[in-house]
């Protein structure tokens, strides 16, 4: 459906996808009204540094923001902050707001993001127990991140491990609890899990895998103790919870928009309502390089879908759909990931993990589908392109460090 005569675009949510949609709409020549409705107090900002440089105190708050407040004024974008959208009326094409009133749209972009999965144990509401998702969360946590304090992190995913690295560098006593038998179990291979577990241990963090948190206990309402399912106890001044996120699909679902682990979109980020788009963590999109639909929790995905939605609204050609990519900073390690490794049937190691500079390639039926590259940008960047071309590479070629990644890429079929 052609929406190029649209005069009013409303964006629900104020994260990376929302910021991108604003910028792309103006870049593609949209001159109508843009209203951004965000439930946080802050203008759109970068989330990745919250568990990295910003948490560590190495990045000033103003550097988190994509654009200064003046930009939204200059671009005539109405930012409605600290306000929750409460409903979407698709026949009237309005979004209702929590303090009353509503906003009309010709095109709607839902970028409601995701929320941390709640810790399902007794004591989760004690003072000192935190999620790590928003700027406001970090503002609460940071003053407590003092040398010598005992920090228990629940969940050894990227957020948990990044926070563990920051906390160790700040001199906290860190224990990470993971239910699975290895760290990063949901997202990477055993070889990468083993590497990161070794690294964190070497840096002085205690990693407990196969450890289930049973309950949290405290004194005067403040957490003091974490009790595990095996009956053991850990002293805790701070508990950080990083056990995954859930997409915020309720607004869309209540409005009858098709959802299935995310708001379902086509390649243009359009939902089953032609006037409604979805982008970022909350959306389940066609993963064109993998022949399936899925939800990605990444900066790349938020940017790309924000652009796709803006282009579709403006009737512009579809922007390129890149190979999915992601990164994580822990200590002096830069992990760069290209592709989606799910359903791999073979791994190939290139380089030596001991040297802290190596990569693991993931193949499926001989085709390169993903790479995890530690301090190895060439492996990451070359793979990003090779994955998009559906390249087939022999394991012995990928592991041959006497050949550069440029040479290997040139030999791909």
């Amino acid at each position: 459906m052609d929406l190029s005569n649209a005069e009013r675009v409303v964006i629900i949510g104020g994260g990376q996808a929302a910021a991108q949609a604003c910028a792309s709409l103006r870049q593609f020549g949209f001159e109508g009204a843009i209203t951004l409705i965000g439930d946080e107090a802050a203008l759109p900002y970068q989330r990745p540094p919250l568990s990295k440089a910003y948490m560590k105190g190495e990045l000033a708050e103003e550097r988190l923001y994509f654009k200064p407040a003046a930009w939204y004024e200059d671009q005539n974008i109405d930012t409605v902050l600290s306000v929750r959208a409460t409903g979407i009326d698709r026949s009237a094409r309005t979004v209702s707001l929590e303090h009353g009133g509503s906003v009309e749209y010709d095109a709607l972009i839902i970028t409601t993001g995701s929320r941390p999965r709640a810790l399902p144990v007794e004591g989760a509401d004690l003072d000192g127990v935190f999620d790590l998702r928003d700027l406001a969360d970090v503002e609460r946590i940071r003053p407590r991140m003092i040398e010598g304090q005992k920090l228990v992190i629940v969940g050894a995913g990227y957020i948990g491990l990044e926070a563990a690295a920051v906390a160790r560098q700040l001199g906290l006593d860190v224990t990470v609890l993971e239910m699975e038998d290895r760290v990063l179990a949901r997202v990477t291979s055993p070889i990468m899990s083993a590497f990161f577990e070794t690294e964190h241990t070497r840096q002085g963090a205690t990693i407990k895998t196969g450890a289930r948190l049973a309950s949290l206990h405290g004194a005067d309402g403040k957490v003091t103790t974490a009790r595990l399912a095996d009956g053991s106890e850990l002293a805790a001044d701070i508990v950080l919870v990083g056990i995954g996120i859930l997409p915020n699909v309720e607004l869309a679902e209540d409005a009858g928009i098709a959802c299935s682990n995310g708001i379902l979109t086509d390649r243009d980020a359009r939902t089953n309502d032609p006037h409604v788009f979805a982008a970022g963590d909350c959306a389940a999109r066609p993963l064109v390089h993998y022949g399936r639909q899925g939800r990605l929790e990444s900066v790349h995905n938020a940017i790309e879908q924000g652009k796709l939605a803006a282009a579709a609204i403006m009737g512009k050609p579809r922007p390129p759909e890149d190979c999915p990519w992601f990164w994580s900073d822990q200590y002096d390690l830069k992990l760069q990931i290209a592709g989606l490794s799910q359903d791999y049937d073979e791994t190939v190691l290139r380089g030596d993990p001991e040297s802290r500079k190596f990569a693991v390639f993931y193949l499926q039926n001989g085709k390169l589908i993903a790479v995890d590259a530690v301090n190895s940008p060439p492996e990451f960047l070359a793979s990003k392109r090779l994955i998009m071309t559906g390249a087939r590479l022999a394991p012995e070629t990928l592991s041959d460090t006497s050949q550069s990644m440029k040479e290997i890429a040139a030999s791909a079929v």
Binding site: A23, Q27, Q46, P48, P49, K52, R63, F66, K67, P68, W71, V299, H300, I303, P320, D322, W325, W327, D329, K334, Q336, N375, S376, P377, P378, L381, A382, K406
Partner: protein
């Protein structure tokens, strides 16, 4: 403060005032300078803020470090004066710096 001049691949110049300590990439993004994507926000993770540094400023901007250089090796149309603009920190010294943005960051 330093004046930074961004020249796009068609030769159009755009000058802005950048604050000390911010990167040449951040100053571009905040001022909506076209031609710089900076998808990762300055983490040296994506190589989408590639610029060519005007020869006159090469000494002042210094050379790329290892991680940056290995990212640049895979950028399109890389030249000896290529840099990732997220890795160039603005200072008074760089007043008048001219950088040229490539036709594409991908």
């Amino acid at each position: 403060m330093a004046k930074i001049i961004y020249v796009d691949h068609e030769g159009t110049e755009r000058a802005i005032e950048a604050a000390n300590g911010e990167s040449v990439m951040e100053a571009a993004i905040k001022n909506s300078i076209p031609g710089i994507d900076a998808d990762c926000g300055g983490a040296c993770a994506c190589a989408t803020c590639h610029v060519y540094v005007d020869e006159a400023f090469l000494e002042k901007t210094g050379a790329a470090e290892d991680m940056e250089q290995s990212m640049l090796d895979f950028a399109e149309n890389v030249k000896p004066n290529s840099r990732l603009s997220c890795q160039i920190s603005v200072s008074d010294d760089l007043d008048g710096l001219k950088v040229i943005t490539p036709e594409s960051q991908h």
